[in-house]
């Protein structure tokens, strides 16, 4: 559990960070909270010559809320997400999700940017970001661009981000209405056996908008358009929820691991999605 030797860089602005990435190419990698990256380095599954620490870059911090528009800096920690009162009012699902990530020690250091950039299907934030239809602001040597969370994840640890790009912020519109992040895990500090993020808006007695996304049930986060569609226009009764769950399950491809065989995960996912929808609807 001892990493190989590396050089450590601590730039204080984004341009310097980008320049260091350029200079060392493949050998360099940014580090945020380090709570996904450092374990990989200690296991020597990742050997990185140059670590570029983003912690001293002030521009990457901060949560800004302007009406429904929410912008979260990449270096905002999970603990900061939990503690931010304005965010809890605008988009309480972030707090609900962040509280189910790891444990207080990890959350004090792990960042939202690292969580979504990492590309591990076990991370909880990516599915939430897909649920919220967030977009990721990336800055690289050729300027900046935005990529939708729903288009960002290509395979486990493979994302649309280029190696020389840095994620600077996450933008989304606060969804309003009901919400829930439901997660089944074996213990504190565990990744999901199955988890689902749901937002629902209600118009009179009917559902007017719904979004359903899932964590750790495929090699990428899964946003199920069909599941949301199944709810829109309905009163979210048991049969409607059943249809939505069936639609969501059609979009996942869980694999066996120490949490259990795929068959179990599929069954647990059904329960988790149903509970998330029911809780979101009850809050809508």
């Amino acid at each position: 559990m001892i990493p190989a030797a590396f050089e450590y860089h601590r730039p204080t602005d984004l341009q310097a960070a980008l320049a260091t990435l350029q200079e060392f190419g493949d050998e360099a990698r940014v580090i945020a909270g380090g709570h996904s990256l450092v374990p990989m380095m200690k296991l020597r599954m990742a050997t990185i010559g140059h670590l570029v620490d983003l912690r001293a870059i002030a521009d990457l911090k901060g949560i800004r809320i302007d009406g429904a528009a929410v912008r979260i800096g990449a270096m905002v920690t999970q603990q900061e997400l939990i503690a931010d009162a304005a965010l809890a009012r605008a988009a309480p699902i972030l707090r609900e999700t962040a509280l189910q990530i790891a444990d207080p020690q990890v959350r004090a250091v792990g960042t939202i940017g690292g969580n979504v950039a990492n590309g591990d299907p076990g991370n909880d934030m990516p599915a939430l970001m897909q649920c919220l239809d967030a977009s990721f602001s990336l800055v690289g040597p050729n300027g900046s661009r935005a990529v939708k969370a729903r288009e960002f994840y290509e395979a486990a640890y493979v994302t649309a981000r280029e190696d020389d790009e840095i994620l600077v912020a996450i933008d989304f519109a606060a969804p309003g209405g009901g919400y829930a992040y439901e997660k089944q895990k074996r213990k504190i500090g565990d990744y999901a056996t199955a988890a689902a993020a749901v937002t629902i808006r209600k118009d009179g007695t009917a559902c007017s908008a719904a979004s359903v996304a899932m964590t750790n049930l495929s090699d990428v986060p899964v946003w199920s358009k069909a599941a949301g569609d199944a709810l829109v226009g309905s009163a979210c009764g048991p049969a409607d929820v059943g249809r939505a769950v069936a639609a969501a399950l059609a979009d996942i491809a869980p694999t066996a691991d120490n949490r259990g065989p795929a068959e179990f995960k599929r069954h647990a996912a059904g329960v988790v999605i149903r509970r998330a929808i029911e809780r979101a609807w009850s809050r809508a």
């Binding site: 190989a4 020597r44 074996r186 259990g260 179990f264 069954h267």
Partner: protein, 807 residues
Amino acid sequence: MNEMAPISREERVEKLKGLGCSRKRVEDVRFTQGKGNYVDDLKLPGMLHGDFVRSPYAHARVKSVDKSAALALPGVVAVLTAEDLAPLNLHWMPTLAGDKQMVLADGKVLFQGQEVAFVVASDRYVAADAVDLVVVDYEELPVVTDPFKALQPDAPVLREDLQGRTSGAHGDRRHHNHIFLWEAGDKAATDEVIASADVVAEEMVYYHRTHPCPLETCGCVASMDTVNGKLTVHGTFQAPHVVRTVASLLSGIEEHKIRVISPDIGGGFGNKVGVYPGYVCSIVASIVTGRPVKWIEDRMENLTATAFARDYWMKGKIAATKDGRITGLSCHVTADHGAFDACADPSKFPAGFFHICTGSYDIPVAHVGVDGVYTNKAPGGVAYRCSFRVTEAAYFIERMIEVLAIELGMDAAELRAKNFIRKEQFPYHSALGWEYDSGDYHTAWDKALKAVGYADLRKEQAERVEAFRRGETRKLIGIGLTHFTEIVGAGPVKNCDILGMGMFDSCEIRIHPTGSAVARLGTISQGQGHATTFAQILASEIGLPADSITVEEGDTDTAPYGLGTYGSRSTPVAGAATAMAGRKIRAKAQMIAAYLLEVHDGDLEWDVDRFVVKGAPERFKTMKEIAFASYNQAIPGVEPGLEAVSYYDPPNMTYPFGAYVCVMEIDVDTGVHEIRQFYALDDCGTRINPMVIEGQVHGGLTEALAIAMGQEIAYDEIGNVKTGTLMDFFLPTAWETPHYTTDFTETPSPHHPIGAKGVGESPNVGGVPAFSNAVHDAFRPFGLRQSHMPHDHWRIWKIARDLGLHG
């Protein structure tokens, strides 16, 4: 000197903080401030660091080891392989179980994580880099991780070094992967009873492989002083004196030239009893280089390579009359010992004390047979927070009772009560050869059932089942019952030894002139709080306050010889030695007091902290005064000073017991469970410190929760460890840990000087069946008989699915 106002007898008792006092743990002052002193805190001048090259394969031939690139790395001092150790005859070492074990791979590897080469470097980081540079050429061999498959005729030969050897340390070997068959009881009589019984319940009960996983992993610092020829080894040793003796026998260094020190130890739970290759390699490296060498394993190494626990396949048959009177019990165990038989049991007991498996019940005839088997898994089989194989035994009998209750259609609490050994039967001779010293099971059981409202719980459970059947809920209730009997305090020298060393223990006391004292013991605390509780035993015996008594353990240059701490033996054995040494002090003190008071010895009586002249309460000498006198007065016929030593050979084991009830809610769709209530009644005999007992019970129950509900060392078919990190190896946090309600009865041990029996391991022994029985009990109405642990989410889900509960 200011004479204090006379204080009452009660105040004097209170001041001692002796037996029965919930004295705060003196150790915690440093532990809670992060000021403990663990082996990895030790930094000696010029110290080198060792690290292992380990096998990625579970079974392979080692064709070559190329160390040239590693040796070329600046800072690397040496790379040791079996070839380097062979001239010293240290490439293999004896195990505590009468087998031998490779220190470094000698031609082949037999489990994933096995030590292949030992790198020694100037710095921990360089050592890790050098490990990556050692090139080992392996040729993979077929792997067996299943002990039943290992015994098939065409199974691969694992231990080529034993080929052709038809007998081992414990009798005949009937197959190349067979280690021993060990038996107890009367087979013919048991078979006969079973054949003619009204009712026989038969079941395979598996207690899966798990690991003690102490928070601090294993490690040592070996330091050879080349000037005076003295070897000092600091390490995580649960038995420092035994390590000294083994080190002397292996190295040829005379025992007085070896000093073994166990500093603060961050939990042991059996993991730190054995001798590991890391210790041997560090010692050799220090002798060769003349510099101190530190070796500290990381978490993955600890979980994959140092001693595991359990892995017992227990096939049982239990016979009874129609009305539920048990008439006989048989058990055959297939014991997976891994690649080497490195169990840490007393030498004559290759299956430990598994034959305590008749439990708390009066069973007229019984038989057990245990087949030890080699597989391509890590060696070990240690007593993880239990006496030797006692948890396996308790789990077995407590599952068999439940299965028999199902067979009889009887309530499991009633079945237990019907078969308990009755109070008047003690001392009780069990069918498998033990003499239970004392017990009062019915009293404990009744108290437990009443405390939890057992009848109401059963009613609620039945209502829940009805509601479930009507589709109104997806949650079931399980009521897990256990009445366990332990056997701890090994043990009488006549039948208990480790590598020939009798399992006595010791205490040496020195009283200082001003009335404080130091007591040194042959045991070593790993968190049990010996410095607190042994001082309390002594305070009550010699009348000096516990706060004035320092307890020291773990340094073989100062502590008297002892066999160490495991198997709940410290209080039964070293605690007894402490009381006996205290009594010697008191006997001498009585002579001194008689001289000072100018009366005959026999005219004095002991009163809390002083000797008083009978019938003249105003004439007395306190222990403090006597201590001073022993150093400053010439007393005819009495040597100066006040010291004593006792080596205590226990006449018998002690038999703590307890009654546990666990109430669990189970979600049949997700397998998620919630422990609604856990009631633990422990009877550990005389209670030295109720608060320490409660702490021990909480800790043991939490480890039991871990084992029953998720913790395991799992292998895939090619011998890869699947649970080698704490992400997958379940170590509960405060979040997963339920609230426990503790309770007690007090049945003193008749043969122990203060009647204490030991408690550290009871909650793990009794806790595992209580949690597991709760899971089983929830599904009993739907036809479940047996489902193997650990009961993690998916396995509970699978029970429900297999019973058709998912519709």
